[in-house]
């Protein structure tokens, strides 16, 4: 055969060339595959068209509504004291809840009260279901930046729960979410199960039973 008469170094060269071109071919085929994949991935899904436009929480002509906000107190025998503030009585329940929570995040105006929620915490979502349970989602800084302490954690949790349930009688329980997810405890102490209002740790008397005054 002609090939067997080829010098040895040429034969080795031929083998190396064949193997090399086979690898190159493989790579080339894969490159085609990758290009195809890139084309496939380029489907127009870059922006979510369903993101709602930011709606205002209240209208200019909404009437004012006085609310009691609960903040940690320096008084010895109570955990939370209240502070009067005003929000707009907007039509949507969640809008009123959002305004209350935003005031809570902004902190107290009274010097004898302390902020209840760690700085830089953002309110992400509020949702109230048919049974009167409010789901309130905060950014994860509410847990991560919490200074700790059982009493101060109880104060954080109940300043949120009490401020909502006391001012909005439609809400009966509050379930706090952290960073969009359920968490066992806020910072190692207080359970984040659906919680009812607890006025026994405050200096505020229960509201008179005016059924659905709002």
């Amino acid at each position: 055969m002609a090939a067997s008469r080829l010098p040895r170094h040429l034969r080795i060269g031929l083998i190396v060339l064949t193997v090399g071109s086979a690898i190159a071919l493989g790579l080339f085929v894969d490159v085609i595959g990758r290009v195809q994949e890139m084309v496939r991935e380029k489907d127009p899904e870059t922006s979510n068209p369903f993101t709602p436009a930011a709606a205002p929480l209240y209208e200019q002509n909404d009437p004012p509504m006085p609310v009691k906000l609960f903040f940690p107190s320096v008084k010895e025998d109570v955990v939370l004291s209240s502070e009067e503030q005003t929000i707009f009585r907007s039509a949507g329940l969640t809008n009123r809840a959002r305004q209350i929570l935003q005031k809570l995040l902004d902190g107290p105006k009274t010097p004898t009260l302390y902020p209840s929620v760690p700085k830089d915490t953002k309110l992400q979502e509020v949702f109230v279901d048919d049974t009167g349970m409010a789901y309130v989602d905060f950014s994860s800084t509410i847990s991560a930046n919490h200074p700790g302490g059982m009493l101060s954690e109880q104060a954080t949790v109940y300043s949120i729960v009490n401020s909502l349930v006391y001012n909005l009688p439609e809400i009966r329980q509050v379930k706090i979410l952290v960073g969009g997810a359920e968490k066992e405890t806020l910072a190692g102490h207080c359970l984040l199960l659906p919680l009812a209002m607890d006025l026994s740790i405050t200096d505020v008397a229960p509201r008179e039973q005016v059924n659905n005054a709002d």
Partner: protein, 489 residues
């Protein structure tokens, strides 16, 4: 050149042949048990395509069912009282009274042997034999008909000088401990007919225990525990009317334990050295102390002073303070710097059948001048009077477990308040109620103590002072003693 090529080819062929023939050998046979009401059948199972197969003829013979193995028509027929089951090899379809039933895996025939997958027993054979077959996936046993099974759960935990294996049976059973020190193992023979273990082996290993495995291959259910060289003694204690057993693997021989082979009624395990002044505690056999936070979760902090370190130091001091007063076993939820969820902490107390759970925390108040200390018990109905479903509740959610012991928890909190205010004059320990994670699912009296205020430099100095730590934990231990001896019977 040719010789080398031939050699290589031959070597590859030899390896291929070796691999091919060694495969079925390694895949074959572990013994499989079927527990019937009055008998037990041991079978040689085969694993083919990751499916466990059982020899059909052995089962049919044991059940005394009539069968015909028609070699010509390649079918196997089982005759029941008014029913007939026909099997065809290589097919997942079986015919029951001429109605097809599809199995997940095909019937196999190897030589003269008919092999059936496990679901054949529950889908097909159960109809002809009139027996129900129960199987826990991953196990090597089945339970047929009305055989009375005893469920068995086990867990292990290191308690420092000893490792405790807790066995929990669904109904009372007798057990016998056999110490095979020469083989470095202990065998616990379970004297019940059909044991249904939740797991075949315990994924647990520490300095004293190497492995824990359930074994009933010869029809005699037992636990085989491989132990380390350090283990000097194994002790067995029963509890809860022989439903719960504690097996303690001890590093050194305790004075009261003799060189027995079968200890059926050993004295209650005590982790402490026998103390002549110890008062026997009647109500509380195990006390669990929880050091709050840990690992990546430091809790409150003041500079380099972290809550997790303080609580661990206090927990260790409290352990020795309690052990010097009571004969109870004291268990820490964590004895090192590890993170745990509240649920895991309570599980330590629940699994050890503890009579008391105490969780230690330090305080932090935004108000630098605040005292910070409190005693916490669970706030009743913190979710706010959820209406009970009509006809009552069948199950309680775990977070309501605290309800059973609410009065006892309150009594313990009062003992504590009295002792702590006496020991540290000027400081108050108000009893507060809150939805505390570590207390909610406790099935025993449970309280949490929050001490000091890490936002206050003076308080930090006090909390890190060993003298204060001793004084503080001693008065907690005194409260525990009052509670254990008189507060609750």
């Amino acid at each position: 050149m040719r010789r080398i090529v031939t050699g290589v080819v031959l070597a590859i062929l030899a390896t291929a042949i070796l691999l091919f023939y060694s495969r079925p050998l390694s895949a074959a046979d572990t013994d499989f048990l079927i527990y019937f009401e009055n008998s037990t059948l041991a079978l040689k199972s085969q694993t083919i395509d990751r499916t466990v197969y059982l020899p059909l003829q052995d089962i049919v013979r044991h059940l005394g069912l009539a069968s015909t193995d028609a070699t010509g028509s390649l079918t196997f027929t089982i005759q029941g009282q008014n029913s007939r089951l026909v099997l065809t090899p290589g097919s997942g379809f079986i015919s029951y009274n001429d109605q097809p039933i599809l199995l997940q895996n095909p019937i196999r025939r190897e030589g003269n042997q008919w092999l059936v997958p496990l679901d054949f027993l529950s889908q097909g054979l159960s109809r002809v034999a009139g027996l129900e077959f129960r199987y826990r996936p991953g196990s090597r046993r089945m339970f047929a008909g009305r055989v009375a099974t005893t469920e068995l759960a086990m867990n292990a935990q290191s308690l420092g000088a000893l490792t405790r294996l807790t066995l929990r049976a669904g109904s009372p059973i007798d057990v016998e401990l056999q110490k095979e020190t020469a083989q470095r193992r202990a065998v616990i023979v379970l004297k019940a007919k059909a044991i249904d273990p939740a797991r075949e082996r315990l994924e647990y290993k520490d300095a004293l225990i190497q492995s824990v495995a359930f074994d009933d291959a010869d029809g005699m259910p037992r636990l085989v525990i491989a132990i380390a060289d350090d283990v000097r003694d194994v002790r067995l204690t029963s509890s809860d009317g022989n439903r719960v057993y504690f097996v303690d693997f001890v590093r050194e021989i305790a004075t009261e334990a003799g060189p027995t082979t079968a200890v059926a009624s050993a004295p209650p395990p005590a982790a402490s050295r026998p103390n002549p002044n110890v008062t026997a505690s009647s109500g509380v056999r195990v006390i669990v102390i929880d050091a709050g936070h840990g690992g990546i979760e430091p809790g409150a902090a003041n500079g380099s002073t972290l809550e997790k370190d303080l609580t661990l130091a206090l927990a260790r001091r409290l352990r020795s303070a309690v052990q010097s007063r009571l004969s109870s076993t004291v268990v820490l939820t964590r004895d090192s710097d590890v993170a745990m969820t509240s649920e895991e902490r309570v599980a330590v107390a629940n699994n050890n059948q503890a009579g008391l759970l105490i969780s230690l925390h330090t305080g932090f108040s935004p108000d630098k001048m605040a005292a910070g200390s409190s005693i916490y018990i669970m706030k009743p109905d913190f979710t706010g009077g959820v209406p009970e479903p009509a006809g009552g509740r069948l199950f309680l959610p775990w977070y309501m477990a605290y309800r059973l012991n609410a009065p006892a928890s309150k009594a313990m909190a009062e003992h504590l308040q009295r002792n702590l205010t006496q020991a540290t004059p000027g400081s108050k320990f108000p009893i507060r109620h809150g939805p505390i994670g570590v207390l909610a699912s406790a099935t025993m009296p449970a309280i949490a103590i929050e001490v000091g205020n890490l936002n206050n430099e003076e308080s930090v100095k006090t909390l890190t002072d060993p003298e204060f730590q001793t004084k503080f934990t001693t008065s907690i231990a005194a409260a525990i003693e009052q509670f254990a001896t008189g507060g609750r019977k």
